[in-house]
C-alpha cells in the first residue's frame, strides 16, 4: 500500500484546504469592520437538526470530490418556515422517496469517485491487491473523507463500521474498489451526513455551547453554504474555536474567501423565495417574451446586482432598493426594453453585461426586477396585491393576514374589464367590500406603485389605453412610481431590521426570538452603515450564534 501524493493534494485542494488562490483573494476581499455584537444577556434558542439542502449537498460533493462528479439524482422539496427554507430545514425529514434518491445519488457518486478515471486522484493509497479487501487503505480514505462529510472526525466505532462494509463488499465482489465504493455510498446516505446535528457542551450558566466541530459547521454553512474546510476543522481540533479571538480569526479568513459569495447567494435565494420560480408559468399569448431562460436570468440578475453592490463594492444594504446598476442578458434586455450589446458570437449563450438605468428611470432597484414583479404575479396578469404582500412579508418581515374565505375575485382578475380598466380601478371596486378593505389598504398601495411592470416584468406606462397611476404611500411616506417606492423602502426602518432578523434566523436555522441579540446586531448594522459583510461578521462572531438552551433530552459530545 502506498500513499498517493497527487490524490491527497486534490482532495485537499478541492476539499477546502487553504490553497494558494484563497490567499490571493484576501487582497480584494472586503475589509471587515469589527463591530462588537456581544451582549451579556441573551436568550438562547433551541438546538436544531437541519437536513442538508440540495444546494448544500451539491456544494459538498463538489468541494470534497471536485466539480466533475455528477449527482445523478434530485432532491425532495424543502419547506419554508418563517419565510426561510433554512429554518424549514430544521423541521423536515427525509421521506421514502427522498431516501431513494439519496441512496441512488450516494451510489452514483461513490462509483464515480473510485472509477478508473478518478481513483488515482481521489484515493490517497493503493490496495495491495485490487481483487481483495485492504482495510488499511480503506481506513486512510474513510478517515479523511469521513472527517469532511461528517464535519468531525469519525469515532472509532464509525470507522470500524465503514472498514467492515468495504471489507464485506470487497470480499463479495472480489474487487477492492467496489468495496470502497460501497462503503463510501453507505456514508453518503448516513443520517450523520444528511442531517446537521448540533452537539453541545454545558456552560456554567445553564446554557449550552455548540462543541468545536458544531461551531465549525455553524460557521461554514452560514458563510459558505458548505462544509468546513481543513483549516477550520484543524482549528476545531486544536480548540481554537473555544475563544472569541479564535472564532474571529477563522471568520476573517472565511470572509476573505471567494466562497463567501456562495453563502450570500444562498441566503438571498432562500429569502427571496426563488425556489418558487420552478412552478412559475406565464400565459404565452399575453407574455410572449417570457421563457425558461428569462426566468433563470431574472434570478441571476438579482443575485448579481446584490453581490456586486453588497460584496464587491461593500455598499449599503438599503441601496439594493434604489440602485440603478444591474446586470443583464440579451434575453432580459428584450423584456426590460433596453439595449444589451452582447459581443458573443452567433449562437453562443447570452453573456452577462453590466447595465445602468438613468437616474430618473422608474426601473432600478430589486423591486422593479423581473425576479420580483414576475414571481409575485399570477400567470395572466400583474398583481398589486401579491406584490404588495410579498414586499411586506419578504422585505419588511410584516405578516399579512390571509384573505377571508369565500371572497369573490372576479373583478380583480378581469383584466379586460370595460369599466375598471386599470388594476387600481379593479382593486378599488373589489375593496369597496369592507371585509377586504382593511388588508388591501396596507398591501395594495405598494403593489400599485409597481404597475408599470406587467405580469412578466416588462415595462409599460398604460393599461387598456389608460395611463397607469403609480402613486401610493408606505407607512405614511407618500410616493409616486417604483423609484420612489424603492426610496421609501430604503428609508423604512423595518427594511434593515427585517434583514437582521432573517439573516440571523437563516444562520442558526430557527426563528430567532432573542430580542437582545437582534437589537445588538441592528445597532452594529447601523453603525457600520448597513454593510452586509459586517453584519455577517457580527453574527458569526456572536456568542449567541454558538449558544443554545438546555436540550430537552440527554446530550453528549460525539467524541
Amino acid at each position: 500500500m502506498s500513499l498517493s501524493r497527487t490524490l491527497s493534494v486534490f482532495l485537499g485542494c478541492t476539499a477546502l484546504m487553504a490553497c494558494a488562490p484563497a490567499a490571493k483573494q484576501t487582497a480584494t476581499a472586503p475589509a471587515v469592520a469589527k463591530a462588537p455584537a456581544q451582549t451579556a444577556a441573551f436568550t438562547p434558542g433551541e438546538m436544531v437538526m437541519r437536513r442538508l439542502s440540495g444546494e448544500q449537498y451539491q456544494n459538498i460533493v463538489a468541494d470534497v470530490f471536485g466539480p466533475s462528479i455528477e449527482l445523478g439524482g434530485r432532491f425532495e422539496p424543502d419547506l419554508r418556515v418563517g419565510g426561510l427554507l433554512a429554518v424549514g430545514a430544521g423541521t423536515v425529514s427525509i421521506t421514502a422517496v427522498g431516501m431513494e434518491q439519496f441512496d441512488a445519488m450516494a451510489r452514483n457518486i461513490a462509483t464515480q469517485v473510485v472509477s478508473d478515471k478518478n481513483r488515482a486522484l481521489m484515493i490517497p493509497c493503493k490496495p495491495a491487491d485490487v481483487k481483495a479487501a485492504d482495510d488499511a487503505c480503506v481506513g486512510i480514505f474513510m478517515t479523511r473523507v469521513g472527517e469532511l462529510l461528517y464535519r468531525r472526525p469519525l469515532t472509532e466505532a464509525e470507522l470500524k463500521s465503514y472498514i467492515g462494509v468495504a471489507h464485506l463488499a470487497a470480499d463479495a465482489t472480489k474487487d477492492f474498489y467496489a468495496g470502497l465504493s460501497t462503503s463510501l455510498a453507505a456514508m453518503l446516505s448516513s443520517p450523520k451526513f444528511l442531517f446537521r446535528q448540533e452537539l453541545v457542551t454545558a456552560n456554567t450558566d445553564g446554557t449550552y455551547s455548540l462543541d468545536a466541530y458544531s461551531k465549525a459547521s455553524q460557521l461554514s454553512f452560514f458563510l459558505w453554504n458548505s462544509i468546513p474546510d481543513l483549516p477550520l476543522l484543524a482549528a476545531a481540533r486544536k480548540g481554537e474555536l473555544g475563544t472569541r479571538a479564535g472564532v474571529a480569526k477563522q471568520v476573517d479568513r472565511m470572509m476573505a474567501s471567494p466562497r463567501l459569495e456562495h453563502g450570500v447567494r444562498a441566503f438571498f435565494t432562500d429569502n427571496f423565495g426563488f425556489d418558487e420560480f420552478n412552478g412559475l408559468t406565464k400565459d404565452a399569448v399575453l407574455f410572449p417574451k417570457f421563457s425558461a431562460q428569462a426566468a433563470n436570468d431574472a434570478q441571476e440578475q438579482t443575485l448579481r446586482t446584490i453581490v456586486d453592490l453588497l460584496l464587491k463594492n461593500r455598499g449599503d444594504y438599503r441601496d439594493i432598493f434604489t440602485t440603478k446598476k444591474t446586470f443583464l442578458t440579451q434575453e432580459l434586455g428584450a423584456i426590460y426594453q433596453v439595449p444589451v450589446v452582447d459581443e458573443s458570437p452567433n449562437g453562443a449563450p447570452d453573456a452577462w453585461l453590466p447595465f445602468e438605468f438613468a437616474k430618473d428611470d422608474p426601473r432600478g432597484g430589486i423591486l422593479t426586477q423581473m425576479s420580483f414583479t414576475s414571481l409575485h404575479s399570477p400567470p395572466g396578469r400583474g398583481s398589486p396585491t401579491l406584490r404588495g404582500k410579498a414586499l411586506r412579508e419578504v422585505l419588511l418581515c410584516q405578516k399579512v393576514p390571509a384573505p377571508p374565505a369565500a371572497v369573490k375575485f372576479d373583478i380583480v382578475q378581469d383584466t379586460n374589464n370595460p369599466v375598471y380598466k386599470t388594476a387600481r380601478d379593479r382593486l378599488n371596486a373589489h375593496a369597496s367590500n369592507p371585509v377586504c378593505a382593511g388588508c388591501h389598504k396596507i398591501i395594495d398601495p405598494l403593489g400599485l406603485a409597481l404597475e408599470n411592470f406587467d405580469g412578466a416584468g416588462a415595462f409599460r406606462t398604460t393599461e387598456q389605453g389608460v395611463k397607469i397611476d403609480t402613486s401610493g404611500a408606505l407607512d405614511g411616506v407618500k410616493f409616486t412610481g417604483a423609484a420612489e417606492l424603492g426610496k421609501a423602502v430604503h428609508d423604512n426602518p423595518a427594511t434593515t431590521a427585517c434583514l437582521v432578523n432573517r439573516l440571523t434566523s437563516y444562520a442558526v436555522g430557527r426563528e430567532v426570538k432573542d430580542t437582545a441579540w437582534l437589537e445588538a446586531l441592528k445597532t452594529s448594522f447601523a453603525a457600520t452603515g448597513y454593510r452586509l459583510p459586517d453584519l455577517m461578521h457580527a453574527i458569526a462572531t456572536s456568542d449567541a450564534f454558538f449558544t443554545v438552551a438546555a436540550p430537552k433530552t440527554q446530550t453528549a459530545s460525539a467524541q
Binding site: P288, Q330, Q337, P339, V340, E343, G347, E356, F357, R363
Partner: protein, 377 residues
Amino acid sequence: MAVGQISKSLFQRQFLTVLGGAAVAAATFSVPAQAADSRNFVVGWFTHATDSKDGDCPGGVNPDITIQYMKNLALLGYTPAQIEAMAKKELDGGDEIAEAMRLRGRVDGKPIEPFTYPETAIDPKLVSGIGKTGYGFDLDGKDGPNGYEDPLTHQKGVDNEMFRALGCMRTFRGSLQGRPTYWAWAWGQLLDSQPAWLVNVTGEDLTKDGEVTVTFDRALTHLRVNADGNPREDSTYRADPDPRSHNVYKGVLKNGEITIKDAGQFRMLQNPLVAPELNLSRAQLRLTLKKDGTLSAFVGGYQPWRDVYLSFAGPGPAYEACVTGDIPGIYYLLKRHADGDPDPKTGQNATISTTYYMEAVRAFVVPAALQIKPAGN
C-alpha cells in the same frame, strides 16, 4: 452621451440609431445630428412576393414530382410499359425511378447528374403563370404584355417575372398571408442560425411626411424569437461592418409609406444553405411603418437568374423531391422568363425581375460604424 441618457431616451420609446454600449461599459457614442427620429427593425419574415390565385396557371399547376418524374422518363425514351413497371417496383420499395431521375442528364448519351448541369436534362416545359396581378414595381418603365397590376398599389406594368416563372410550381405558390411552402421552409431552415437582417429608418419626424434615409444591414447574430416562433421585439443586434450587406437609400415618407425609386443595387449576404446572397440591380423599395410599430417592405429589382437557380439546385435531388419540384425544369422556366440584361452576343437575358416581401419588428441596433471589433469576433 452617457449611458443613463440613452436609457432615458429609450424609455421614451425612441428607437435610436446609436446606443452607446449600454451594456459594454461606458462607451460614449453620440447621436448624429440628423437622427431626430430613427427606428430600428429586425426582419422576422422574408419571402418572394407571390399572389397566387385559382386559375392563374394554364391547365392547372405543374404536377407533383412523382407524376413529373414519369413524364421525364417518357422524355428520356422509356416506354409506357417500362415506366409502369418501374412505378410498380417503386411502390414496393424500389428506387429505379429515383435513380433514373438522379442521373437524368445526358452527355454523349451517357447519364449525368442534371442539377449542376441542368442543360443536360431535357426541358420538361413546365407551365408558368398567366395571372394578371402580382406584387412589385414597374422596373423597366414600360407596361408591356407581361406587366402585372400590383394588388396593393394598383401600379400597372409591374415586372415580377420570377413570380410568373415559378407561379405554377406547387411549393412556390402562395400569398402574403398564405405563405408559400418553399419560402416558409427556407425561413425555418435559417431562422435560428443565419445572421438576421436589420432595417433602419431615419428622418426628421417619422410621424410626418418627409424625406427619410433607409438602411439595410446584416446583423452578426441570428434573429431572436419568442416561444411561439414569432420574432421577438426589443432585442439588440449589432450590424455587421461587412460593406457587402450595407445598403443606404434616400426615400420619401408619405402617409406612413416610404417609397424609394432608383435605389440602384440592393445586396444582402445570406446563409449559403439556401442562397449565398440576394443581389438586385435597378432596385425599388416600398416600406410601410405600421401602427403597431412593425414594418413591412417590398424590395424589387433584377436578380441574376442563375443565382436563383443555384439556390434551388444546391441541395440536389433530395430537395427536388420534397421541397422545390423539378429542378432542371425550374432552370428552363427561369431562363425563359429572364427579362433583364441581355447578353450582347446571344441575346439571352442574364437577370430576372422579381420582388421580395419582408416583415420586421422593432429592435435595438448598434450600427456597423460603431462596431469596435471586426466581423466574426
